[in-house]
Amino acid sequence: MTKKRPQYFLYHILVGGFAVLLLYPVIWLFVSSFKESGDIFITAGSLIPNPFTLLNYAQGWEGFGGYGFGTFIKNTIVFVIWMLLGHLISCSLIAFGFARLKFVGRGFWFMIMLVTLMLPYEVVMIPQYIIFSELGWLNSLKPLVVPAFFGHPFFIFLLVQFIRTIPRELDEAATIDGANTFQIFYKVILPLIVPALATTAIFTFYWTWDNLLGPVLYLNSPEKYTVSMALNMFLSNETVSNWGAMFAMSIVTLVPVFVIFFIFQRYVVEGISTTGLKG
């Protein structure tokens, strides 16, 4: 204990100090959200709001056109839940197929999957929009959420890489015990990739939370808007942007992501030590 102390302090000074440095912009954003909107840029160098005001929060929370900011947060939460369900179910199944099963065309489909990531979305956007318009899915979450149930290359590849680090002896042992392929997936592999699944969940959460282009394209009625769209509405290209309200609501929308991350990061780093290695 006594031997550990100096090292312990050094660690916290180093890591903590560096965190503060990295977080300076975020701290600035936080502090600025309590400044009067007109002062933000004039007193940009100061980290003490003077005068201190909560007006930005009140103004921002009011929303616009009769829809409060709470509406947008609720919409985003619903959006996120669907995406989480979609990604966790589909990506783990697909990844298991790619990583553990031998079948004709495996390499081909894996390559196709990666290639879909390499074409800039801008050029497929319009044809895709027309497909969804033919399906009558415009102005709903469907064009955003339904594809999530068919996997996302990023997460499939991530899970594949994690499954490949798991020794095959475990599968073989289960097969000897009479497990079929689905049972191997469900009982052996799934518990071992909890960290990667938690990573998938975290990324899905905040990418969805942050997703601007999707909602912009497919949601038309303000009552369905998500927070990312709503935040941009404090900006003006002709007159004066309401930076204060925008900052305030940025902070508000950061809170759920922050909390979710704090809860889930434990599973990223603890998953394996509680479930693995025993088997």
Binding site: I42, F64, K74, V216, N220, P222, E238, A245
Partner: protein, 425 residues
């Protein structure tokens, strides 16, 4: 304990999903024989709020009409509009900008409003120039929601402090501009901040009897490259002597909030009249509006449509849409909510009624635009398709000139060959 919290989370998820499904169901169904219109615009919080109120007012007077609003910020709005246009899913009424109007009209995405003029849309209180603001080829593809005019928005206190008189005279010239700049520089102040290349080069060309784009949009509208060289030499000189900040200094500015004029480091700013209100709001200083420098001011100046409301070609309710446009343009009570936010209104009746309603700053804008009405010339054809690319080319060249990387004469030549290629397509 742990199990309980897990159950709670699942319960919450279920409730939310159910709520989502049910709310979706209620909004889509219900066919009650009402005329339903979709209207889209870009804007910020205040505009979204008052436009929603205008719509409510209209719905009250026309109980058989239901109007659904779809608004977004500027960038998001255009992002949304092009796929909608490609899929023929445009809202019935769309707000349009001068720079995109030709593109959408010539792509056959907007309806010609000519049949509705004098029928659903009353134009009797508007000038012909005003209505023609939305003219592309032979049709009117957008109803002008209000006009703006360029000018010099300056701080008279600083002007006086620097010994340049108490105000800028109406008939000032580019020569005055240069000599006043010299005096400002001598005392360590900037005269102005920046002239947006496309806007003010066009003004300069117009004041010399030319214009930036040919009337039919097929190429450039001026023949003599000396005009280009003259104008940009003057701009480069201003930067060189320190009357205008260098482009790298300008790039550091976040927005109007930390503009040199707001910080009291520059006398004024050349910009559109609708930007005056915002500037005054942030600057918290007395500000005045002067016209553009001459000679040829009245040839150079024109009233630019602030924005348009267009009716989409795929709309099945064009008459109903036109009727709402009329309400928006001509209804006095509605305009008391709008208060000139989309430009100074065209209807003389509305303008008269608003005089006592608008803010101090807005009043100055109204007065300036009124002055400009009699001291300007017709705008002519709006920006042709391809203008967006030309404007960026001009901005890049202007930047290079200001950095001293390119001589104005060379830039003139390069601009002509490249721009003609972009417009001639």
């Amino acid at each position: 304990m742990k199990r309980k919290s897990l159950l709670l989370v699942f319960g919450m998820i279920l409730v939310l999903l159910l709520a989502a499904c049910s709310s979706e169901g209620s909004s889509s169904g219900s066919d009650d024989g009402k005329v339903k219109l979709r209207i889209a615009w870009w804007g910020d919080q205040p505009r979204n709020d008052y436009t929603t109120k205008v719509i409510e007012m209209y719905e009250e007077q026309n109980p058989n009409v239901q109007i659904d609003a779809e608004y977004a910020s500027w960038d998001d709005y255009w992002q949304k509009l092009s796929p909608q246009a490609a899929a023929n899913e445009l809202p019935d009424i769309v707000q349009m900008d001068v720079s995109y109007l030709a593109q959408y009209a010539q792509g056959n995405k907007l309806a010609d409003l000519t049949p509705f003029l004098g029928e659903q849309i009353d134009t009797s209180n508007m000038t012909e120039d005003y209505v023609n603001g939305g003219k592309i080829d032979d049709g009117i593809y957008g109803m002008n929601t209000g006009v703006n005019a360029v000018g010099f928005h300056y701080n008279p206190e600083l002007l006086e402090e620097l010994g340049l008189g108490s105000e800028i005279p109406e008939d000032w010239t580019w020569d005055d501009y240069k000599t006043m700049s010299d005096k400002a520089v001598a005392q360590g102040a900037f005269f102005d901040t920046h002239l947006r290349p496309d806007v003010f080069f066009d003004y300069y060309l117009r004041s010399q009897g030319s214009r930036l784009y040919a009337e039919d949009g097929s190429g450039l509208g001026y023949d003599d490259d000396k005009l280009f060289a003259d104008y940009w030499s003057m701009i480069a000189e201003q930067v060189e002597k320190g009357a205008t900040p260098t482009p790298d200094a300008l790039a550091q500015i976040t927005g109007i909030e930390d503009d040199p004029v707001v910080k009291g480091e520059a006398i004024g700013i050349f910009q559109w009249s609708n930007q005056f209100v915002g500037l005054k709001q942030v600057a918290e200083k007395p500000l005045e509006i002067a016209p553009m420098p001459g000679p040829g001011t009245s040839d150079g100046l024109y009233l630019k449509p602030g924005m348009f409301f267009s009716v989409s070609q795929n709309s099945e309710q064009k008459e109903a849409a036109a009727d709402f446009l009329d309400f928006f343009m001509n209804d006095v009570e509605a305009n008391k909510l709008i208060l000139g936010d989309r430009g100074v209104p065209g209807s003389s009746e509305v303008k008269e009624a608003l005089k006592d309603e608008v803010s101090e700053a807005q009043k100055q804008v109204f007065e300036y635009v009124e002055w400009a009405e009699t001291n300007s010339s017709p705008m002519g054809a709006p920006d042709p398709a391809g203008a967006g690319e030309v404007i960026e080319l001009l901005e890049t060249l202007a930047e290079q000139i200001s950095y001293g990387q390119l001589a104005p004469e060379e830039a003139a030549e390069s601009f002509r060959t490249q721009a003609e290629g972009m417009l001639g397509q």
